[in-house]
Amino acid sequence: MGPISSLIQMPEWLDLLIALLIGIGFGFSLEQAGFSSSRKLVGMFYGYDTTVIKVFFTASIVALIGSQLLSFFGLLNLNQVFVNEFYVNASIVGGIIMGAGFIMGGFCPGTGLSALSIGKIDAMVFFVGGLTGAFLFAETYPLIQKLANGSYKGPIKINEVLGISPGLFTFLLIIAAVIMFWIAEAAEKRFARPDITNEI
């Protein structure tokens, strides 16, 4: 557990145990939110069920506020938190593939795992597809290397690009999230599909 273990020295087994407990918590909350159901997940695309955006936006904002406050109180060293490296082209192409796959398959990697754990067969097939995709990527890497590594921007953060403080960025993101919540509510009324939503 990177940033916290820099404050207190923890033995490795404790690190891994904490990771395990966090994983259990994650799977548990996905399942109780109903994300094992592919009909609930694609409801985000068709508009009749916007739970996904509410849950994920809430989760990221709580994490953002929490980490900023912990960093302010000196309990978390944000420089030790991993930031994804940004490859522009790869992100766009990968995002399109992932989005198409999500709608078609009805799962994304995390929710696919939680559906798999309750025994859904379509999740198992989805997973085989995912592993195949990863395998294909590795095998064809020399051909797509240029695309995968193009437009490298490094591990940058949005607030760095905009030149604003992390706190201000958090506030703006919260405003965007609140607007999204309201739009989501409106969409659910507009695109309601009671025949589906009553079953899931």
Binding site: I65, G110, S165, P166, G167, L168, F171, V178, E185
Partner: protein
């Protein structure tokens, strides 16, 4: 107000507080001042130039000597076996890659006693252990190791040991720093440590 409204209001309040805070993305000290002060005033954090000379002469691998001066000054003259981390680069968060090995004694030095001691406080503030300063810096090294001599007819055993170490250190220092720039650069390159990148992430 329904749940959604209350929840959003709460989030907006917290976000507003955060927006007003002087949050910075830059690194800062992680331990408390009361904890840092005794470490900073500990006499054991100093090595004398003679002690460093002994490390240099015995090519002690449990020791890493770090030169905080500019690259130009480092190329002109430096202590054999030392690596160059300019002080201003150190402030740009370069410490992680150099001080990563917890078993090695890291000894900072500069020309005098300013930069090396600033660096020690900074490393201590980031909770690194095993950090030391060569007291007096390179000026003291020249004064004691390079230029000193023993006078009088008799010298004690201890003085003799000092004399031997100083002579050998003097020789090594002169040999390394007398190399023409190209050879010296190659010799120093072999001691260069590449910086580590944070690796990880998955989805």
């Amino acid at each position: 107000m329904n749940t959604r409204g209350k929840f959003s209001a709460g989030l907006l309040c917290l976000g507003f507080i955060l927006a007003l805070l002087p949050l910075s993305a830059n690194w800062s000290f992680t331990i408390k001042p009361q904890k840092l002060l005794p470490k900073v005033l500990d006499d054991k954090t100093y090595f004398t130039v003679d002690q460093v000379a002994r490390f240099v002469v015995s090519e002690d691998t449990t020791v890493q000597i770090i030169d905080l001066r500019s690259p130009k000054e480092f190329r002109a003259v430096n202590i054999p076996g030392s690596i160059n981390v300019p002080y201003d680069k150190l402030l740009n968060n370069a410490l992680g890659s150099i001080l990563s090995n917890g078993n090695i004694k890291n000894i900072f030095y500069s020309n005098s006693d300013f930069d090396s001691n600033y660096a020690l406080v900074i490393a201590g503030g980031l909770n690194y252990k095993n950090i030391y300063v060569m007291k007096g810096g390179l000026n003291e090294w020249f004064n004691t190791v390079m230029n000193s001599s023993f006078s009088g007819e008799r010298i004690s055993a201890r003085e003799n040991a000092l004399f031997e170490t100083r002579t050998r250190a003097r020789k090594m220092f002169t040999e390394l720093n007398s190399l023409p720039d190209s050879l010296k650069l190659k010799f120093i390159e072999t001691k260069h440590i590449a910086s580590k990148k944070l690796d990880g992430g998955c989805e």
